[in-house]
């Protein structure tokens, strides 16, 4: 333990209004849920926030609500709960799949979807999936509620549209209206307990060999989880041909900005990104 424990304070909010009240106090309280990211920083002596408000026990954040056009996931829902949810398994299988990629079973029992979003890692396992499902985030403060498309949430590396007094309360996923072709693959450092080197999640509607609509998102290839809109634009409305696949691949390689770091190289990430896109497009034809 490399942090100086007496310097840290923790309080647990009993319900959502209390949590929002604490965050609005201007006293520097930051939310903590499962702690699977923050406690690692804490142990390493690298956690910058000294005042933590736990929202894990906040009942309002612990529900999955299904309406006719939308499934709304409480931000404090854990990966394990996502993996076990029948509605998510049936309609958003990539989300369940990505939850199974994250950390260990112990991590999955504690880590939450809202925490994964707010930790804002470009390598977050759930992020490309949420982008591919066109998720919308519901942010709340004592001042009110706002809805932000998840594709617009991340502004830069660890920078996001989330004020200090705001909490992510729900993640809304629009329910699919027709048959959607889904693909998700994580390339990590090993098969379990791994951080992704590259990940790709995609959904598409294909009719008679023509791509009616497509959403492609990637992790670990840019400062933020990246929705690959230029690549999507190349594909949308087109018939799947080898020429189109090559164009999409070239566009993707221009659109991503992978780096070399302790886990991998920019060259590897670029090659794998293109290869995963290729694998997906081939699965559509």
């Amino acid at each position: 333990m490399r942090s100086f424990v007496p310097e840290y304070d923790l309080i647990a909010a009993k319900h959502l209004p209390e949590a929002l009240h604490i965050l609005s106090s201007g006293e520097g309280w930051r939310p903590i849920a499962g702690g699977t990211d923050l406690m690692v920083l804490f142990n390493a002596g690298k956690l910058p926030w000294r005042r933590l408000a736990s929202v894990s026990e906040t009942e309002e954040l612990r529900r999955v609500v299904t309406s006719s056009d939308c499934v709304s996931i409480g931000a404090a829902i854990t990966y394990s709960e996502i993996r076990q949810s029948p509605i998510l398994q049936a309609e958003f299988p990539l989300l369940c799949q990505s939850a199974s990629w994250t950390g260990s079973i112990a991590n999955q029992n504690r880590g939450t979807l809202g925490g994964n979003i707010a930790n804002a890692s470009p390598a977050a396992d759930s992020a490309p999936v949420l982008l591919a499902y066109d998720a919308e985030l519901e942010l709340r403060s004592v001042g009110g509620t706002r809805l932000i498309p998840y594709a617009e949430f991340h502004l830069g590396y660890k920078s996001m549209q989330l004020r200090e007094d705001e909490l992510i309360v729900q993640i809304h996923l629009p329910r699919p209206l027709c048959d959607v072709r889904q693909y998700g693959r994580k390339v990590g450092t090993r098969k379990a307990q791994a951080i992704s080197k590259v990940s790709l999640a995609a959904t598409a509607v294909v009719e008679n060999g023509t791509i009616i609509d497509v959403r492609i998102a990637m992790g670990s290839v840019a400062p933020v989880p990246l929705r690959c809109q230029e690549t999507e634009a190349v594909l949308r409305g087109e018939r799947l041909t080898p020429t189109l696949q090559a164009r999409a691949r070239d566009t993707l390689l221009r659109e991503i900005q992978p780096i070399s770091d302790i886990r991998s190289t920019s060259e590897y990430r670029a090659m794998v990104a293109a290869n995963l896109l290729g694998e997906y497009l081939e699965s559509l034809s």
Binding site: M1, F4, R190, A192, I262, S264, Y268, V272, E279
Partner: protein, 724 residues
Amino acid sequence: MEYRLVGTAVPRKEAGRKVSGTAEYVDDVRLPEMLHGVTVRSTIPRGHIRKISFDGAIPWHEFVIVDARDIPGKNVVSLIYDDQPYLAAERVNHPQEPILLLAHADKHLLERARQNVHIEYEPLPAVFHLEEALAAETVIWGEDNVFKRYTIEKGEVDAMWSEAAFIVEGEYSTGAQEQLYIEPNGMIATFGAEGVTIRGSMQCPFYVQKALMALFGLPAEKVRVIQQETGGAFGGKEEYPSMLAGHAALLALKSGKPVKMVYDREEDMAATTKRHPSKTRHRTAVTSDGRLLAMEVEFSIDGGAYATLSGVVLSRGTIHSCGPYRCDNVRVRSVAVATNAPPHGAFRGFGAPQSLFALERHMDKIARTVGLEPDEFRARNLLRTGDSTATGQVIKDPIDLVRLQSRALDSIGYHEKRRRFPVENARSRRKKGIGFATFFHGAGFTGSGERFLQSVVTLEARAANRVRVLTSMTEMGQGTNTVLAQIAGEALGLCYEQVEVTNPDTAEVPNSGPTVASRTAMVVGKLVENAAREMKAKLPSHDFAALGPLRVTVQYKEPPGIFWDDALYRGEAYGAFSYATYAAEVTVDTLTGEVEVNDFVALQEVGRVLHPVLATGQIEGGVAQGIGMALYEKVVWRDGVMVNNQMTNYVMPTSADIPNIRVYFEEIPYEHGAMGAKGIGELPMDGPVPAVLNAIENAIGIDFDHAPVLPEDVLAKLAKRRVA
């Protein structure tokens, strides 16, 4: 011979306390008034210490602070050469080198204080790579950066090149590897009128004792070393505990209180020893029908900043570098050099995994050059009874290595898969391949080592028909307590439960040597067997109570007919070799470069298997570590610093990455090993890396010459080949 206990899977002696959570590891121990200790370490690879300042709002007067001036005896970690200080005084030679020690009752305040010690340096030029060290343009150790050199000469190598039908050359390298024992290093020291007492996680209590005697200028009876329950070691707790125990003891001496020092994972990975990085060059002369005419090997290892055990690691790597093959003309030249990294040290296999990796990759390369199947080429050259190794050691075992190799390959369906995979691979992005390695591992200390050790064990008969085994062999998860009790019980005709194995405590047990070199069961186990037989001869019945306490002590005597020449490096290098063929089946995903090991067969001849479950566990664990070394575990260095010193970024394989490992034994009892046992602990580390890389070559036709092979390497080579 029929045995009652040996060869059966009796419960482990310490299983109950481990399963119930009552086993006491060093971090579980709390002594009255105990302080915690931490280490302030260098942040540069090489330079002079100019200024140390104690900053921040820290109540420094509450702290016990130790530097090199507080050392009462010699400021060296006494091992082989006296070159490594306990605490750097004026100069540092690697990052993470200990400079100051701090102690305080409050662990958290202590950590904060550590962060507020600032040290100014005047940097000196540093050396980070083997080649740089050998070039010796910058000299950082001795006169030429060389810790140790060896040469093995056999026959007339130079005369053979002109006779060769093929001359095959290759260069192979391996990286550092972290032992990753589950329990980090930890020690508690107390100082009193009776001297210093150490409790901690360790492999070799008498190494720690010897080092502390020099550090404090104390006689042996004033330095007591007690092993706590130890959560794994793999060589990583062979020499480093002497350093940590000394640090804790220095703080205990100055504070007058017990001091506990336990590293966290980050510190343990960054500061303590790892497997030596290596480079091997092979040049081999082969006849047109695939027989080895001459082998020339250059083997070099990076020892880090101080000599520690590098010379000994080099020795084992050197002797194993020509493997279990018959070749009349051999020249091996080897060297261990200094770089400004934390010292590399003992790790399961001890140099042999490095040089055997090179050899077993090279054997596949020769087979390809000659146009023979890898198994056929090896079969033509494997040692037979009566042949001699590179050092001239004549193989006396009635071992048939060709048959052993065939059995392993049949078990994995090698030939059928060599035919089938290329056909299937042509249709798939996931390419399958199969490869193997045939190898041996010498058990016990090298050459005259066991003779110099003069190991001693004692058996003590006590009331109620109970016997105690007293040795310095440590239980670190591998099963020492269990197999020594089996051996003693077997020889005495007692039940397993009647034999107790004493926890190593230098005040109580004799020096049976270190728990290293696959020597516990074979060498020390034999001493236990001999002592037990002697005791049984003295006791007509098992009514020990009637006879009163009886102690029998025996000492190692070299078996007859063993000759080793330390100067020429010729003769009987090891009392016995264990032999093996390991075969791996892999799948290479050409989209991602990921390699998955799908099946693994490990067949070995290890003499008598004393405990089938423990023996199988040893093999499985070694293979898993080997797969880690082959495909996952890469230490990322930046100027002598391990920068991926976390389990997130230093990637060891999980159970999800390891296939079902199929373990098979052949047993040819070895007369000088306990009940016929030979060494087993290190053998399984030697084979997996070349077997896996040979399988990768079979899958995608790319011959990797370094380990680990990461997906990045695979994809880069595949892309390069596409362009070509």
